[in-house]
């Protein structure tokens, strides 16, 4: 197919259009995805997450530059936060990354979470495959905030980076709970600020609580100093970039890469099952007015939600629900 071929040749316009179509869930996207899928899975996918204001975009920019100097091609997916209030400001931070726009070895794309309910992680998963099909050797996926959605997306990565900043309050650790447990590399950004040592100690305490077998990867805690001190910043970026590479080599040599690839496929399949199974039934219920009738029954206290849901399952599933 012509369009799949273009994407495999790295055509930026074709790839951008496909990603937009994936976001809109068009039938055309489905066909192309099918065609390119077997040409994917060759990139090192790195998930980068952390609170807004943690400086992820600056970090990503540095990692791009470091890898470009080694001649590696890089793809970046930046996932925007849902809030209509702050979306603009955070997008502004990403302008920096756009300086790579002229470099054919770099492809940067933002994906909006607005409106996408449930389908977002699905769309991100497919967009990663597009970047892989384009031949990008390193794929960076940057997400903002905490929550189930972020954890889902991170599960698509081989290597997971959690970016923290000192002095942001203890709540961060709790909010990031789901990510904390799956992170491979911790980065303390803006490490010239007060509270860096305290944060380092806190992280170490948490890491000490999960026993690590000998030979197993122990998540390192790296520091990156302020971007306005170019020498120190460059040193930090180098540490982070080499550690990302080291983690990949660890995964390959240890043969644990297989587990990560399996994890990714498992989560992709689960997301796809949830939407492909639920959506047709929900659409049908809404179209037939059955959804409203069920809600009326609940409001009258005639029955309870699970009883109704089991009736729906009994009607629409070819297997028994119990």
């Amino acid at each position: 197919m012509e369009k799949a071929k273009k994407i495999r040749e790295g055509d930026v316009r074709a790839a951008s259009r496909l990603i937009r179509n994936i976001e809109d869930n068009t039938p055309e996207a489905r066909h192309i995805i099918k065609d390119i899928f077997r040409h994917t899975g060759n990139a090192h996918v790195v998930g980068i997450t952390g609170s807004p204001g943690a400086g992820k975009s600056t970090l990503v920019d540095g990692i791009i530059e470091w890898n470009r100097r080694l001649g590696k091609t890089v793809g970046v997916l930046a996932v925007d936060p849902t809030s209509p209030f702050t979306g603009g400001a955070i997008l502004g931070d990403r302008i920096r990354m756009q300086r790579h726009a002229e470099d054919p070895g770099v492809f940067v794309r933002s994906m909006a979470t607005r409106g996408a309910t449930g389908g977002l992680s699905n769309a991100i998963g497919e967009a990663i495959h597009v970047l892989e099909a384009m031949g990008k050797e390193l794929v960076l996926v940057e997400t903002v905030g905490a929550g189930q959605q972020e954890v889902k997306i991170m599960n698509y990565a081989h290597t997971i980076l959690l970016v923290l900043v000192p002095g942001m309050g203890d709540e961060i650790q709790v909010l990031k709970a789901g990510i904390m447990e799956i992170a491979d590399i911790f980065v303390i950004n803006k490490a010239d600020r007060d509270g860096t040592n305290k944060l380092q100690r806190e992280l170490m305490t948490i890491l000490d609580m999960s026993p690590i077998k000998s030979g197993q990867w122990r998540p390192p805690i790296l520091t990156v100093e302020n971007v306005f001190e170019p020498e120190k910043f460059r040193k930090g970026i180098e540490d982070v970039s080499t550690t990302i590479r080291d983690h990949y080599q660890y995964l390959v040599h240890n043969n644990t890469i297989v587990d990560r690839i399996r994890r990714r496929s498992f989560h992709e399949l689960n997301d796809a099952l949830a939407s492909c199974i639920l959506n047709p039934i929900l659409n049908q219920l809404i179209m037939e007015g059955e959804m409203n009738r069920m809600i009326d029954k609940l409001l009258k206290g005639e029955t309870d939600p699970v009883t109704l849901a089991k009736e729906v399952a009994g009607k629409y599933l070819r297997i028994t629900a119990d």
Copy 2:
């Protein structure tokens, strides 16, 4: 049924056992829920959310006391965070609330989110019904953190309170994005701290961005000062408690209570549909070894997740998936 009757009589032991059974999703719980469901829906359900450390439990404690003085019965559901690292500490904060344990007009229960994947908001929804069946007039649901799960739970409430504290960093506003837009009352807790005015201004700017029609509820921004200044604290609690009552009266007089009740039923039904439809299919796929076979196909690049998911939908659904 004997057990349903006991719960309607306010039997604490029977109610606690039922909530535990709901968490464990036992068949016995299903039967009792069915029996009590038509006796529910009469409480004012208030959702209280905010970052860990925002002082929600102290606030809840104050609200309980204020309402008890008016002779109102109160039920509280406290939802624990998922993290194994901090769960204990946060539970500790709740000990204060336990001083109401001797008061038969108050029923406090913690529900763990640990292990519950997807089914949590379902379980919380049913537990609220248990408290309503017990005859509690005010039901407070306290959740920690941000994320889809919290937004889901808040949708079960008639009135939603967002608790913020000054000086916690601007990231809070972003992290709470999903809640921000559905909150009915904003509470700035620990309002003796620096940054209270700044936070107030920020919140007002955000509120000004969403135009409010005349006669419509405009979310007020309330302040509660430190618990160590009893007079000021009491004044703050009184403001919060009366505003909660005012919001309920607004909903009733404006007839918008119907929309809230509908919203609650809609979300309960959606959650129930998701688990009752998906779980039997996923269980079947795992039991038959089909899940592993599908993942193997994905790893070999033979097909893509959505194509596989559509095949599963075609096999298990009585309607066509497209």
